[in-house]
Symmetry: C2
Subunit: 350 residues, 2 copies
Amino acid sequence: MADVTIQHVAKAAGVSPSTVSNLLNGRAHLMLPETRQRVEQAIEELGYQPNRSARNLRTGRTRTIGLVVPSVGNPFWGTFARYVESAALAEGYNVLLCNSERDPNREQRYIEELWSDGIRGLVLCSSLPSLDHVSALMKRGLQMVAFDRTAQIGDPDTLVSISIDNTVGSELATTHLTGLGHQRLAFVSGALGSVNRKDRFRGFAAALERAGLPSEGTLWPGAAEQRFGDVESAELGRQAARELLSADEPPTGIVAINDMCALGVCRGVRDAGLEVAKDVSVVGFDDIVLADLYDPPLTTVRQPMQDMAAMAISELKARVEDSGTSHGRSLLLRPELIVRESTAPPRADR
Amino acid sequence: MADVTIQHVAKAAGVSPSTVSNLLNGRAHLMLPETRQRVEQAIEELGYQPNRSARNLRTGRTRTIGLVVPSVGNPFWGTFARYVESAALAEGYNVLLCNSERDPNREQRYIEELWSDGIRGLVLCSSLPSLDHVSALMKRGLQMVAFDRTAQIGDPDTLVSISIDNTVGSELATTHLTGLGHQRLAFVSGALGSVNRKDRFRGFAAALERAGLPSEGTLWPGAAEQRFGDVESAELGRQAARELLSADEPPTGIVAINDMCALGVCRGVRDAGLEVAKDVSVVGFDDIVLADLYDPPLTTVRQPMQDMAAMAISELKARVEDSGTSHGRSLLLRPELIVRESTAPPRADR
DNA sequence: TTCGTTCACTGTAACGTTGCAGTGACAGTA
DNA sequence: TACTGTCACTGCAACGTTACAGTGAACGAA
């Protein structure tokens, strides 16, 4: 119960707290080897762990960065969180992981809590188009990397954006379908609230245009007003597929906003008594682990997650440690189309 | 950059820091309404956020609990983390989420870091059979709930264990298969290192015995020495299915250690040119979101996650706040078999 | 008038750590 | 012998907050 403090260690080793502190902070050369050994032994025997609150208070620094994701219930974010954590650990940082559940209030509350915990570096995976709710803290010195969100006009000056080029990714996916000969395509998504969702639709429309196809009416209207979380997006895809496939001239190719949604679409295709690939081609986005395990394995657009996580951490580390007048920048990585078995040429009779 | 402290607020409002502190700590009745308003306005205008390190240092309390999971890359843990977080938030607590990656050193390191952050309540989802590495901290007052791990002989006195009855769950799954008429069953798992994996195999064997079937040779030997992480367990299932189904007398029913593994098994079944349910029945464990989305939807054993998360938090809260001489206990919840379409009677000709 | 009480606020001493500015002992130099 | 330097260590003040004890003004009662 009674915590072991640096004083207890000092007394046990017969030195002053300062000496213990010196040892703890890499100044072991300031003492005799035998003193050092006595102190180390005392630390060991008492099981002393420095009180981090006191240390943070005193030094003003923290070896912790914050990570805010929409939901770890989504394997995409879960996987990303692991990469970020590994990258941070390798740089000597800890990660504090928070779930915003795509709720702006919760997101803001978490960020303020991280700030008051002394955290000055943050990786934010926000669904929100505007960053107004954090710009005040950024002015005070919060360093931030926005992930999976391309830079916007009104963004804070020092913001770093790391993202794939969503427009290109979506074009890649869509062009794959048009290249296979599909003429009637649909885009399935929840409300296009976030920047990258808009970009993905833009890429989809651009690819259609390039193939000489109309883009009107290709956006599934079912979710326009709804707010689907990540877990529910599969259910949304299922519903969308059922509705789309019961139309007079159903689409033969469907581009989904992400893999969870695409898996739902595949399920909906089956619900409608059809077969994925043979009757309807489906493309996802993200390349989550399950994309390759699904039946049929999902054609999808892969994000280089590990690289992106490493970049996020190294940007943050540099900024938190230097705190020079580092300006914002934007890193757009190229996505990669992974062709598996959920896409095929359209059937001749459809 | 320059942080706003309670002193700045006090000066701006023309009061002492004590008065600001009183307002902050729910003692607003100690001041005039007009004073209160002045202070509130100053807080608002300066954007003051109390420094949590200082507060923790001073009070010795923390409104944060720790959550250590094997890997948020696994949707099972991701989902659980969300439930824990929601339950904690509802009780006024924050959650600090850590990934052990099933690495004992990393797990211990995280727990010690949580302790030195002033955290005194922890939900541990450990894969390790022994809790020796945390018992020292528990003696000093760390309150801990072990999740998904049944109580063991050598456990610390104050430990709370919350788990489903894994043996019963596995019996439920296996009896479902024998009830359908399956005679040749296999159990697919990575190394049976953890308590609950052993229990699940025990339940599997017990069900076989009850059905008058031999249990020798039913444990897939492929992973005995390997250490598979959660993400890789799907790959393991795939490999297991391929190997098992190429035998002379292949099993007609497979019980997998968890859903990710079961999904891998399904994929392996297809790799072998067979069909899930029709040729080989597959049962999983956990009922992750994807179980219902898979094709075919997976028959699996469901854990009442939300209830378990709420119980974990309320136990922890009571213990952290009272810190009376609360003794350990063990809560075993009953799992539920969810029958979907990955199981069917064996084919007559096999 | 004097005493006591209430009220609205403030002063102060911690909490555990850090890192600079000492301090005294001792050795080496002039 | 006196001075200078190095060495090994220590004293002290601060970081921002909290909560208890304390203060002085205003008012009511005897």
